[in-house]
Each structure stands twice: as structure tokens, then as C-alpha cells.
């Protein structure tokens, strides 16, 4: 297995009853790169993410992360392995502050349990201290440092999305899956988002994003995969994919932003 391949799928298929959402998709994604997955609505992009994240089981085929097969590993263990994802609808923890949201991302990297927590043993106190500082570091990275004590839901959507990314970053992932991070953002926010994603890539973390915003994708992605009706119809650099007649045909009739 190639050392620089971070994610690989072989014949990945997902069926919901009679509906085939993903049909024998083969992928081989390079580590340390920003890969975009695009395609018209219903192409299976979010399904692909959900399979990688472990939200539901694979119907057939395999997923390999850094050479290890993911299929049987439950969703909550994948964060510890280094895979984290964000959600299209953000899914912040509305009952917490901004800081607490980010601190919760530390969960897979901290280890004290019920007993240490119940009695506030030194191990717990040390790890809390570390979590807090760590969280602030990532909040500053996304530019939300000054909002630490605010209620998470009091932020505008663009900042909520940044918060979600900060929370994901705290898990110290090798691979981050961003599900439509640009949806609902204005131009300025999209530019901040692009910068952040490039920053993340600079930190050595591989990024896969699903996006509908073509200019955003084309400006960011080093590799693009195009899905349509559950199948991979093209892949290549942004420039190659844009000129591919199959891709154009798939998008015909679609309102491109």
C-alpha cells in the first residue's frame, strides 16, 4: 500500500432498500492534499461521507484509512483513529458556550474517567487545564478567540461553521471531512474559510470536502472527484475536471451558482 494514500475505497456500495446511493466506487486519495467531491444533487456525496465517518454500515466494498480497513469500526472510534467530520447543518452543542464546544472535541485525546472526575483528582485537573488551553489555541486559529464565553448558538452561521471546524480540529485528526462548509456563507466568509482550509492543509492534515460552490472548490482543490447517481464519473485536477464532457453533461440542467 502506497504510503501517501490516506483513504482508499474498493467497490464501495451503499444501498437503502432498493435505492443504490453509491455504486462500486473506487477511490484513492493522496495524503496532505485538499480533495473535493462534487456532483449534482443526489449524487451520493453525503452518503460517501457518512460511510467514511461510520454513520451507517457499508453494503459492500471496503474502506481503508492509512491501510487499515474501516468497515467494522464504529463511528465513535474513528475520531481516535484520526478521522473527523463536520456536518452540513453544523450540529453545534447548543447547550454550551463556544469554548465548551471546542473543549468537547478533546474527548478522544483525554482519558480521565468517572472516578477522577467525581473526586477532582489531580489527573483530572491537569487534563482540564490542558484541554482549556488547547481549545483556546484552536479558537484563535479560526479567529473566534474573543467569543470563547459566548453561547455557541449566538454566533452567526459563518462563525458557527468555523466553530464546528475548530471543534473537529481539536481531535487532532489526520483526515478531516468537511460537508458543505461553504453553504450559507457570504463572499468574505468564504474567503476566510478558504484560508482556514489551506491552513489546515499546511498543518499536514488531509482535507476532503463536499461542496456545491464551484469557484470555491476550483480555487482550493488539488484533486477533484465527480460523482453522479452514485458512480464516479471523473476525477482529476480542477482544470481537467472542468473540461470533462461527462461532467458537463451531468451538470446540464443544474443551476450552477
Amino acid at each position: 500500500m502506497n504510503e501517501t494514500v490516506i483513504l482508499e475505497t474498493k467497490g464501495l456500495t451503499k444501498a437503502f432498500g432498493g435505492l443504490i446511493a453509491l455504486d462500486k466506487v473506487d477511490l484513492s486519495l493522496q495524503a496532505g492534499k485538499i480533495t473535493a467531491i462534487i456532483g449534482p444533487n443526489g449524487a451520493g456525496k453525503t452518503t460517501l461521507f457518512n460511510l467514511i465517518a461510520g454513520v451507517y454500515p457499508v453494503s459492500s466494498g471496503q474502506i481503508y484509512f492509512q491501510g487499515k480497513m474501516l468497515n467494522k469500526i464504529p463511528a465513535h472510534q474513528r475520531a481516535a483513529m484520526g478521522i473527523v467530520r463536520t456536518f452540513q447543518h453544523v450540529y453545534l452543542f447548543g447547550n454550551m458556550t463556544v469554548l465548551e464546544n471546542v473543549m468537547s472535541g478533546r474527548h478522544p485525546r483525554s482519558s480521565y474517567g468517572f472516578l477522577e472526575a467525581a473526586l477532582r483528582l489531580p489527573k483530572a485537573r491537569r487534563e482540564e487545564e490542558a484541554s482549556s488551553l488547547n481549545a483556546i489555541k484552536y479558537l484563535n486559529l479560526v479567529g473566534l478567540g474573543t467569543h470563547a464565553e459566548h453561547d455557541a448558538l449566538s454566533l452567526p452561521l459563518g462563525q458557527q461553521k468555523l466553530l464546528a471546524i475548530a471543534r473537529a480540529m481539536v481531535t487532532e485528526p489526520r483526515l478531516i471531512l468537511l460537508d458543505e462548509p461553504g453553504a450559507g456563507l457570504n463572499t468574505l466568509e468564504k474567503r476566510q474559510l478558504s484560508d482556514l482550509i489551506r491552513n489546515i492543509r499546511e498543518m499536514g492534515i488531509s482535507v476532503i470536502l463536499v461542496e456545491h460552490d464551484m469557484p470555491l472548490v476550483m480555487g482550493l482543490a488539488e484533486w477533484v472527484i465527480v460523482l453522479d447517481s452514485g458512480q464516479k464519473i471523473a476525477e482529476g485536477t480542477a482544470a481537467q475536471v472542468q473540461k470533462d464532457p461527462k461532467v458537463i453533461a451531468a451538470y446540464l440542467g443544474e443551476d450552477v451558482e
Binding site: 437503502f16 432498500g17 457518512n50 454513520v55 451507517y56 454500515p57
Partner: protein, 295 residues
């Protein structure tokens, strides 16, 4: 077991099963339309029974008007419960709604206990006490009334849902509330209708049950639970399946007590329904988990 005993237990099971079926119907109607589990469903059965007794004994009403009035009052209370307790909490979480219906249930139970009576009551049977002989078994005529009423209600409900405009609207709302609101069906009116129907059906159940088995203001809890089991067997979607579930539960209960397995005295009879409930939930949870993951 002799064949006469078999028939006896079978009829007994079908009788109690019919009541569970009626309660289950109520659960199913409300859940299908509003996605709410009405924990007060059993109380409407209790209301039917206790109201009919009170109207006949204390108010001196003749039987038929008393029965009809009991059902109407039960339905009215259902409407009031929906308007005062459920509608104001439409946006509430599942936890809140569960607690609200429980609160309504014990409120109704408490009022009945205080204002009517705390003792067990038994209104007169519809057509006398003399048992009918059938295949060697002795059947209380009231049992036949119970089974017959359940069949009638099921048929009328089916006709209502399939052939009347209102019924079809109700069904549409159950299948797809968004789409049906787009064609002008008001989901809140449908919800109110669902509650009224469910409490009326419950009341009918109580009215036919009370002459057969004495009821008290506390009877609603177990009846509600068993009706829930019936509806759960039916998946909360199909009235017919709820009826089937109720009958199944009644028959299983009856024969389990008859078989006298180990410690299963009749005191454990209620526990049987509970165990069945838990088994169903276990099975369903497996299916639910599948559905969840299929997103």
C-alpha cells in the same frame, strides 16, 4: 386441557384482547397523526367505565343515554386535553410531551378518584347475566358485547378513514403531514380530531368493559400499558395491526395463566403483558437500529 376449557380460555383471551385492541387503536390513531404517544389513553377507557356507572347509578339515567353520554364526555375530555395540554406544547421535545401526557393522565385519574369514587364499580350488563353455552364453554353475554363492539368500531373506523372526506384527510395527515398541509388540510385540526377519535374509542372500550370486569379510577394504568403493547405490535402505523396485536396479547395472557407456568399465578397476569412489551421493544429496537443507520 379439555376442548371446553380451551374454548373458555380462548374466548376469555379474545374478550380482554378486544379491549386492548380498542385502546391500541386509540394509541395508533394519535401517534399516526401527531407522532405523540398519549400516555393518558388508558384513562379514557377508565372514564368510559366510571362515567357510565356514575350516570346510571347516581344520575339515574337509563342505560343507553348513559352510555352514549359517557362516550361523548370522554371524547370531550380528550379534546380539552389536546387543546389545553398538547397544543400549547407543540414545539416541545419528546421528553416534555411524554411528561405532559403523563401529567394529564394522573390529573384525570386524580379528579375521577376525588369527584366520583375510589372504589371498584360495575355497571349493569347490557343484556343480563345469564351465561351462554358455546362449544361446552360458558360465556358471559357481556363478553360478546365487547368482542362485537370491537369489531364494529374497527369496521366503522376503517370505513371512516377510507371513504369519508374527513377520514381521508386524517389518513393523509398521518402519511405525510407536510404534503397534506399544502393541500389545505390543517394539521392542528387533524390532531384535535385524532384525540377526539382516540378518546371516544377508549371511552367505548370502557363502557363495554366495565359491566364485565369491575373498574376503578386506577384501572387506566394497566389498560393503557396493554393497549400500548397492542399498538406496538402493530408498529403504531396500522389500526388493523393494533387490533391483531391486542387480540394476540389477550390470548397469550389467557393461556399463560391457564398453563400455570411455574410462579405464574393470576397475580402475574399483568406481568405477562409487560414481558411481552419488553420483548417486542427488544425486537423493534433491533429493527429501529437498522432503520436509524439507513438514515
Amino acid at each position: 386441557m379439555s376442548s371446553a376449557q380451551f374454548v373458555q380460555y380462548l374466548i376469555s383471551g379474545i374478550t380482554s384482547g378486544s379491549v386492548y385492541a380498542l385502546v391500541g387503536l386509540g394509541f395508533t390513531i394519535i401517534y399516526a397523526v401527531t407522532k405523540i404517544i398519549n400516555f393518558a389513553q388508558g384513562e379514557f377507557v377508565m372514564l368510559g367505565g366510571l362515567l357510565s356507572f356514575t350516570l346510571i347509578h347516581s344520575a339515574g339515567l337509563p342505560a343507553v343515554p348513559a352510555l352514549i353520554l359517557s362516550i361523548i364526555i370522554a371524547a370531550a375530555i380528550g379534546a380539552v386535553m389536546y387543546l389545553l395540554a398538547i397544543r400549547p406544547a407543540q414545539k416541545a421535545s419528546v421528553v416534555s410531551l411524554i411528561i405532559i401526557t403523563i401529567g394529564a393522565a394522573i390529573f384525570i385519574r386524580g379528579i375521577v378518584g376525588q369527584e366520583l369514587t375510589k372504589s371498584f364499580v360495575r355497571p349493569p350488563s347490557f343484556s343480563g347475566e345469564e351465561s351462554i353455552s358455546f362449544l361446552g364453554a360458558h360465556i358471559d353475554p357481556q363478553a360478546l358485547w365487547i368482542i362485537g363492539t370491537m369489531v364494529m368500531v374497527t369496521i366503522i373506523l376503517h370505513l371512516f378513514l377510507t371513504y369519508t372526506m374527513v377520514g381521508k384527510a386524517l389518513k393523509a395527515c398521518a402519511i405525510n403531514p407536510v404534503a397534506s398541509s399544502l393541500v389545505g388540510i390543517n394539521p392542528r385540526t387533524m390532531a384535535l380530531l385524532a384525540f377526539v377519535l382516540a378518546s371516544a374509542v377508549g371511552g367505548i372500550g370502557g363502557v363495554v368493559l366495565a359491566p364485565f370486569t369491575p373498574m376503578s379510577y386506577q384501572s387506566g394504568v394497566m389498560l393503557g400499558l396493554k393497549g400500548f403493547v397492542a399498538a406496538a405490535i402493530g408498529g403504531f402505523r396500522s389500526p388493523v395491526a393494533a387490533v391483531f396485536g391486542g387480540l394476540l396479547l389477550g390470548i397469550v395472557e389467557s393461556f399463560a395463566v391457564a398453563a400455570n407456568w411455574g410462579p405464574f399465578t393470576s397475580a402475574y397476569k399483568d406481568a405477562i403483558a409487560l414481558v411481552v412489551l419488553l420483548l417486542i421493544l427488544l425486537v423493534r429496537s433491533g429493527k429501529l437500529a437498522e432503520e436509524e443507520r439507513a438514515g
